[in-house]
């Protein structure tokens, strides 16, 4: 055979329309809740309405005799089978305090929504009807709800722990040998430079994936099969087995089509464990699907931090030191990676800037709220928000443009690789190029001119311009680094490539897509590598039986880690095929070259396609002596470093000074995520990330009342933005390849969400700064903006009390956690 002229063009880099779409746009989908099995029973969960209470008694009699009910199960009934506690895989310190977290509460509840019993019935409706009949008596206790108060002692969330502080984690650049002493830098700047102190609030958010979580467990047969709407089928399999004392080999977990996650489905949930335990106990398939209200109430939340920041700089605006004191609200329990979320931000506060010194201290605090855990960006959006807000404050203090202050301090493109003050090595980047492109696309100078004109004219609608020049660490994660951070698992990923006799290719990946488009992107990669047509490649994922090894999808890791495993497996296939091709071509191995899907004897027309070789291997009639009759190959890839996407995001908002309404007028971003496999998918990821970040800035907040009840428990109250709330974005890219992986790719899943929040809030503050406002707490709702403007015009620096007016007037102490503050105090 000769190589045909119509060989596949290069797939990587092309805007392939997605393979996944065919089933998703026609309704031929396999969501977990679509699965129905013969004799399947349905679970409904009885949840505590109280945030902190002893469970005095549970009367199940009425529920048990309700129509269709097979069983009513309490925590005491399954205390042994459910195990002592749900897993937390990331104890960040040796002395971390953690309460036991049984899937179903046994004698006390620690947040509103915790499960105290479940009803098992023949239909979902019957289960829910009977759920209302379970009579639980609670002895209510005073809930601990304010993390700042909780951090200082007083009422305890968990009495037996003796403290509300789960752990204190510190990174100090001087101790780590990555920089100088931060206190020295701050004290020096106090003498002859600039010191700025601020306190920012990262409000509590809800991931709010569109598909509510659902779990189906089939205990019949030798292995128990669990389908679940999860991002992490492999982790779930291991953790569920360990938690319930089931042999790992007796459990199979399948993540079928999964409708979004954003970190929210990176969890081992009480509902999954309860469904598993109940199905095994009753010997019948069981299903539990949450309602949206349950999802908002008990699926883990994100963010919820108080960030106290001190930045020092020289008089000309060169940054010298950064001190971060963080309080992070864990909620009532430590979920799968809860304690590590703020720590993922620890390495990013210094961002793209050349600080000499840095210290990060985080205290993880328990309160009687739903637990927090990963949400898109996980620690890095919080860090980026803090530093990008602070850089704007520094620009104001020095009296230069916010882009200028950044340029004075960022790492120049010729300075890579760059060892940061937080102990990371950034491999590559070009902040100048991205910023220059963004500036041009945005028409920065024209907008600044318009802003000045409107400000001078005293327009009722003011224009604000916000900047965010972010970077992030993604591609989680080098296993050694995770080990050093005390994380329980590694950060590798696994793949295998199976060559079928027909010449088709099955690629098994440990990555577990839930909207990312892996089936398309992985096919593009393998098509180029093996020279087979895009459509001949099938991507298999999300089933621990077909994909036995994997660490799943989160932390923008799929392409940079999982994709590299796919490449390594494909390369092994080529290596295995080579001696067989040589045998078939009667040539020397060293005389062969592999290109466009075929081995060719150098300098001749003689060649064998990979598909032909696959069939020859299948028949195995004439293979060289000692050759295994298989081309299939496995590979496990462990990255040596993170990758560091970056970008420049520019936002223009219009703020109505009479109503406080904020309208995003223009949003332009230029991201550098290295080389790109599929620009269409990349652009989509950026769009979605931007909106989640903008939503944090302007719309979303999980709000609890004084009793610890979530009052944003439906989409009526939790404001996921609609199409009508948003503009179209201008997105573009620069491409500075990552140096650490075969494709030069970085990662894009979280970039938009990390970068956009500070760009928007910087723009809002910029629009009203001339009224003396330097902060508006997120979300910058019309009410909050209006309130800040009212207080500014009345000269009241501190509308909601903390800090006091006197504090605000002190040099270097105009921090606030309230709805607005003025900056007449300035910095010293």
């Amino acid at each position: 055979m000769t190589v045909t002229e119509d060989r596949p063009t290069r797939e990587v880099g092309s805007a392939r329309r997605r393979k996944e779409d065919a089933r998703l746009i026609t309704g031929r989908t396999r969501w977990t809740d679509n699965i129905t099995l013969p004799g399947m029973l349905h679970l409904a969960m009885v949840r505590s309405p109280f945030a902190r209470a002893k469970v005095a008694s549970i009367d199940i009699a009425a529920a048990k005799s309700a129509p269709g009910v097979l069983a009513v199960i309490t925590g005491k009934d399954i205390a042994e089978e459910q195990g002592a506690t749900l897993p937390c895989a990331w104890p960040i310190t040796e002395d971390q305090k953690a309460p036991n977290h049984p899937a179903m509460a046994i004698d006390r509840v620690n947040f509103a929504g915790e499960i105290v019993a479940c009803v098992v019935a023949r239909s979902a409706a019957e289960a829910r009807d009977a759920m209302e009949l379970v009579d639980v008596e609670y002895d209510e206790e005073t809930p601990v709800l304010d993390m700042a108060t909780a951090a200082e002692g007083g009422e305890l969330t968990h009495t037996d722990l003796g403290t509300n502080v789960s752990a204190t984690w510190v990174f100090d650049s001087a101790e780590a040998g990555a920089g100088t002493n931060v206190d020295d830098e701050i004290s020096k700047a106090g003498q002859d430079g600039v010191v700025i102190e601020r306190t920012y609030r990262q409000q509590r958010l809800i991931p709010a994936f569109m598909e509510p979580r659902s779990t189906v467990v089939d205990p019949t047969g030798e292995q128990t099969t669990m389908w679940s709407a999860t991002q992490v089928p492999h982790i779930l399999k291991l953790m569920a087995a360990l938690t319930c004392g089931i042999s790992e080999s007796k459990l199979r977990v399948i993540a079928p089509d999964v409708g979004g996650g954003f970190g929210g489905k990176l969890q081992v949930t009480p509902e999954e464990i309860i469904t598993l335990v109940v199905a095994r106990r009753l010997g019948k398939p069981c299903k539990y699907t949450e309602t949206r209200s349950e999802s908002l109430m008990v699926a883990h939340h994100g963010r919820d931090q108080i960030q106290k920041l001190t930045l020092s700089a020289t008089k000309d605006g060169t940054v010298t030191g950064l001190k971060v004191d963080l309080l992070a609200d864990m909620g009532a329990y430590l979920g799968l990676v809860t304690p590590g979320i703020p720590i993922l931000g620890a390495f990013m506060y210094n961002s793209i800037y050349k600080f000499a010194a840095y210290r990060f201290t985080c205290r993880n605090i328990f309160t009687n709220k739903n637990w927090t855990d990963a949400y898109r960006g996980a620690g890095r959006p919080e860090a980026t928000y803090a530093i990008e807000r602070m850089m704007d404050e520094l620009a104001v203090e020095i009296g230069v443009d916010p882009l200028e202050i950044r340029e004075r301090n960022w790492i120049k493109h010729e300075e890579f690789p760059f060892a940061t003050v937080a102990g990371l090595e950034y491999d590559s980047g070009n902040y100048e190029a991205a910023t220059s492109k963004a500036r041009e696309l945005f028409d920065y100078d024209a907008l600044r001119a318009e802003q000045k004109q409107r400000r001078d004219a005293g327009d009722k609608v003011q224009l604000g311009i916000g900047v965010s020049t972010f970077t992030e660490m993604c591609g989680l994660a080098p296993s050694r680094v995770l080990g050093a951070l005390n994380y329980a698992a590694g950060g590798w990923e696994h793949a295998s490539v199976r060559m079928l006799p027909s010449g088709k290719v099955e690629v098994v990946t440990g990555s577990s897509a839930h909207g990312q488009g892996h089936e398309t992107a992985w096919s593009q990669i393998v098509a180029d590598r093996l020279g087979v047509p895009f459509d001949d490649i099938e991507i298999l994922h999300g089933d621990t039986q077909t994909s036995p090894r994997g660490l799943d999808t989160y932390g923008s890791r799929s392409l940079t880690v999982g994709g590299m495993a796919v490449i390594a497996a494909a390369d092994k296939v080529i290596e295995k095929a080579k001696p067989i091709a040589a045998h078939m071509l009667e040539a020397n191995v060293d005389d062969l070259e592999f290109k466009d899907g075929a081995f060719t004897v150098k300098g001749t027309e003689s060649s064998k396609g990979i598909g032909e070789i696959a069939f020859a291997v299948f028949s195995a009639h004439d293979l060289p002596d000692g050759i295994e009759p298989s081309l299939d190959a496995d590979a496990t890839y462990d990255p040596a470093n993170f990758s560091f996407p970056h970008g420049t995001h520019l936002c223009a908002v219009e703020v109505d000074t009479e109503t406080g309404e904020v309208v995003v007028r223009n949003y332009t971003c230029v991201d550098d995520i290295g080389n790109v496999v599929n620009p269409l998918i990349v652009e989509g990821q950026v769009h979605g990330g931007l909106v989640q970040g903008i939503a944090q800035a302007l719309f979303e907040e999980a709000v609890y009342d004084d009793a610890g009840t979530l009052v944003t428990g439906s989409f009526v109250d939790y404001l996921v933005p609609s199409a009508a709330d948003l503009p179209s974005f201008t997105t573009d890219r620069t491409e500075t390849p990552a140096t650490g992986n075969a494709l030069g790719v970085k990662g894009v899943g979280e970039a938009g969400a990390i970068a956009s929040t500070p760009a928007v809030v910087n723009a809002v503050v910029d629009a009203v700064r001339h009224f003396g406002i330097n902060d508006i707490e997120m979300p910058c709702s019309p009410h909050r903006v209006w309130t800040a403007l009212q207080h500014a015009s009345s000269g009241d620096a501190t509308p909601t009390g903390n800090p006091t007016v006197d504090d605000a007037a002190l040099p270097s102490h105009n921090a606030t956690t309230s709805e607005g503050s003025t900056d007449e105090g300035g910095a010293s």
């Binding site: 329309r17 997605r18 996944e20 779409d21 065919a22 089933r23 998703l24 746009i25 026609t26 309704g27 031929r28 989908t29 969501w31 809740d33 679509n34 409706a125 709010a208 994936f209 569109m210 598909e211 509510p212 089509d257 999964v258 409708g259 979004g260 954003f262 309602t291 949206r292 209200s293 839930h514 909207g515 990312q516 488009g517 269409l680 998918i681 652009e683 989509g684 990821q685 769009h687 979605g688 990330g689 931007l690 909106v691 989640q692 439906s714 989409f715 009526v716 996921v720 609609s722 199409a723 009508a724 948003l726 179209s728 974005f729 938009g752």
Partner: protein, 154 residues
């Protein structure tokens, strides 16, 4: 139980339903139209949008008994003879979906939108889709898809 006769995606069904059964539950659990999904409890998200007699309806806001004698079209009934509806094609071409969970409802609403206003501008598209939430795409490519479908005369 109440007997209802409903035409779903061109097929007549005669079923007994509990009077409290929502149309979306009937479609998913009795007719097997699992392409239509449930995303919330409060009629905010629009994931369950179908057409009843040609108009878009959030099928969680309607009882199955109210569909008695009516024609329901779901996402599964849009393609004819293996040929995608132009709106499905536009969603694919413009990369207007990621996880795909909101997609059935979004497509059904988009078709309805163009039926009412065949040549909307961007603002009209955004406002016309206000009742359908998407968490993945940021809506930009959904808006592009609807505008493209409008241009193609869908």
């Amino acid at each position: 139980m109440v007997r209802i006769n409903v035409n779903v995606d061109g097929v007549g069904y005669s079923d007994d339903v509990e009077p409290r059964t929502l149309l979306v539950q009937y479609l998913r659990e009795q007719v097997g139209k699992t392409g239509t999904v449930v995303g919330c409890d409060t009629s905010n998200c629009g994931a369950c949008t179908v057409h009843v007699d040609g108009s878009s309806v959030k099928s969680c806001t309607m009882l199955a008994v109210q569909a008695d004698g009516h024609e329901v079209t779901t996402i599964e009934g849009l393609a004819t003879n293996g040929e995608l509806h132009p709106m499905q094609q536009a969603f694919h071409e413009q990369h207007a979906l990621q996880c795909g969970y909101c997609t059935p409802g979004m497509i059904m609403q988009s078709i309805s939108l163009l039926k009412e206003n065949p040549s909307p501008d961007e603002t009209e598209v955004r406002e016309g889709l206000e009742g359908n939430l998407c968490r993945c795409t940021g809506y930009q490519n959904i808006v592009k898809a609807v505008l493209a479908a409008s241009k193609a005369g869908a």
